[in-house]
């Protein structure tokens, strides 16, 4: 696993009910017992760590947050967009 994935998993662990659980890229977020407000906090931590903005609405089904791997992918693609557009996060 790479640096981005490592950091994201660390952030997830901080917000999990049971941080000792095994977490892989395939682990669904629902298995991590993360509820709506925890998710907002996780997203906030991720945004802070990577200097990006992750748009999402808690009222909508968000595919990007289905598994740990999908979160990592979303973060990486936003980082690439942010870099290429030269916009400050």
């Amino acid at each position: 696993m790479d640096d981005v994935a490592d950091k994201i998993i660390e952030i997830l662990r901080k917000n999990m009910k049971d941080p000792s659980k095994t977490v892989t890229l395939d682990t669904p977020l629902s298995e991590l017992e993360i509820e709506s407000l925890d998710l907002a906090v996780i997203v906030f931590d991720i945004e802070d760590t990577f200097g990006i903005e992750i748009p999402y609405n808690a009222n909508e089904e968000v595919e990007a947050f289905a598994t740990v791997g999908s979160v990592v992918d979303r973060v990486k693609s936003i980082m690439a967009e942010t870099k290429s557009s030269g916009a400050a996060a």
């Binding site: 709506s36 998710l39 609405n57 808690a58």
Partner: protein, 412 residues
């Protein structure tokens, strides 16, 4: 005429509002009947670096026009809204003010707010931290604290009995009204002002709300299949509650009776509502009113248009009402005035009282494509004439704080 159990009855002899549909009950109610939506692009603060740029702002409030007291002119907008709505309620009630010495200690004033003078705070911090001003304005503290509105109104009318602010997020106004209702019933006071005000639309608050990810950038569409969050708004909703014999004796105009009040907590989650708390609050309000679900003609729903509330509320109504759920008219007037936060319950209480007075159910605006799981009669798009004797108003706040009021017609 007292109830069979000798209980004092509580009636409403005046009400007042400040809302995104306009200031004053007449403008507000006309707007509701017409299905107008008071949610627009924000005008009162810059929205360049926000992705939520819509809100329900009060369009026509002018302190110079709507307030008489000089001290209120210097207060935070939340207190000004409260003062204006209280003035409308008191004037409507034809109550003589200042309250006489004989009655002053038997009158109450409970005006709540979700966040009180937050906009004053934001401005003051900006001055201190950004602009390094040597001091804040001397009135800063008084403007900011959540008891100010109540204090201002008590001073305005000479109310010398129980006077304080009350806080319970989106249930604040309903809890405040219920609080005064209980005091009257208990005999502690004979009348009182109850309700709440909210004026928290500012840049910082919007940033904070954005971070919760529950706001919609599109609009407030309760019970819709495509609903995607709530929209912030502001205003005030105030009732003048009075013991029935007291009101009769002075020949006061009686708009409605407050029949019952239920309050519960979910004891579950800070944001996600539970069906148990909501249904228990409705059941409690019905029991307190000595009514059964089939007596209720109209429910003014909490209906915030979040994914979770509208589903939870639908299920709770079905649980409490059983088969009667199919016969009750329901609507979320938040679809028109927005989510007025602490003030919501007060504004919505006025909508319920007007529904009774005029036998008219206001619509849920924007409900063109209902969520199949929200399959009750939510009065889509168009209001309707219907005999409304008893109306229920629901408020289900963050933290699982639930308050339900049941209103009935003026006693015969």
């Amino acid at each position: 005429m007292t109830k069979s159990n000798g209980r004092r009855r509580v009636v409403i002899t005046g009400h007042g509002v400040v809302t995104p549909l306009g200031t004053g009950v007449e403008k507000f109610w006309s707007g509701l009947k017409a299905g107008n939506v008071g949610i627009r692009e924000v005008e009162s603060f810059p929205t360049e670096d926000l992705y939520i740029t819509i809100a329900g702002e009060v369009p026509d409030f002018d302190p110079k026009v709507h307030l008489k007291s000089r001290s209120l002119m210097l207060a935070d907008k939340y207190s000004q809204y409260a003062g204006c709505a209280a003035a409308e309620a008191v004037e409507m009630s034809k109550m003589e003010t200042p309250i006489s010495d004989k009655e002053a200690y038997k009158s109450a004033c409970v005006i709540g707010s979700g966040v009180g003078g937050l906009t004053t705070l934001e401005f003051s911090y900006k001055m201190l931290f950004q602009e390094n001003k040597r001091a804040t304005h001397p009135l800063t503290l008084l403007k900011a604290i959540g008891s100010s509105a109540s204090a201002h109104v008590s001073i305005e009318y000479g109310i010398k009995g129980p006077t304080y602010g009350l806080v319970s997020a989106c249930s604040t106004a309903s809890h405040s009204i219920g609080n005064v209702y209980r005091m009257i019933r208990e005999g502690l006071v004979d009348f009182g002002i109850g309700g709440a005000a909210e004026a928290s639309l500012n840049w910082g608050a919007t940033r904070a709300w954005q971070a919760m990810r529950v706001l919609s950038p599109d609009g407030l569409f309760p019970f819709s299949k495509n609903r995607n969050g709530t929209v912030l708004a502001e205003g005030a909703g105030i009732l003048l509650l009075e013991e029935y014999e007291h009101a009769k004796e002075r020949g006061a105009p009686i708009l409605a009776e407050l029949k019952g009040y239920g309050m519960t907590a979910d004891a579950a989650d800070m944001v996600n509502p539970s069906i148990d708390g909501a249904s228990a609050a409705m059941e409690m309000a019905l029991a307190d009113s000595e009514l059964s679900p089939s007596d209720i003609d109209y429910i003014n729903a909490h209906g915030t248009a979040t994914a979770v509330n509208d589903l939870n509320e639908t299920r709770a109504i079905k649980r409490v009402f059983g088969n009667a759920a199919n016969n009750v008219s329901i609507s979320s007037t938040k679809s028109m005035h927005g989510h007025c936060l602490g003030a919501g319950g007060g504004i919505e209480a006025v909508a319920a009282i007007k529904a009774i007075g005029e036998n008219y159910v206001p619509p849920t605006a924007g409900l063109t494509d209902p969520d199949p799981e929200c399959d009750l009669d939510y009065t889509p798009l168009q209001g309707k004439d219907r005999e409304v004797n008893y109306a229920m108003s629901n408020s289900f706040a963050f933290g699982g704080l639930n308050a339900v009021l049941v209103f009935g017609p003026p006693p015969a």
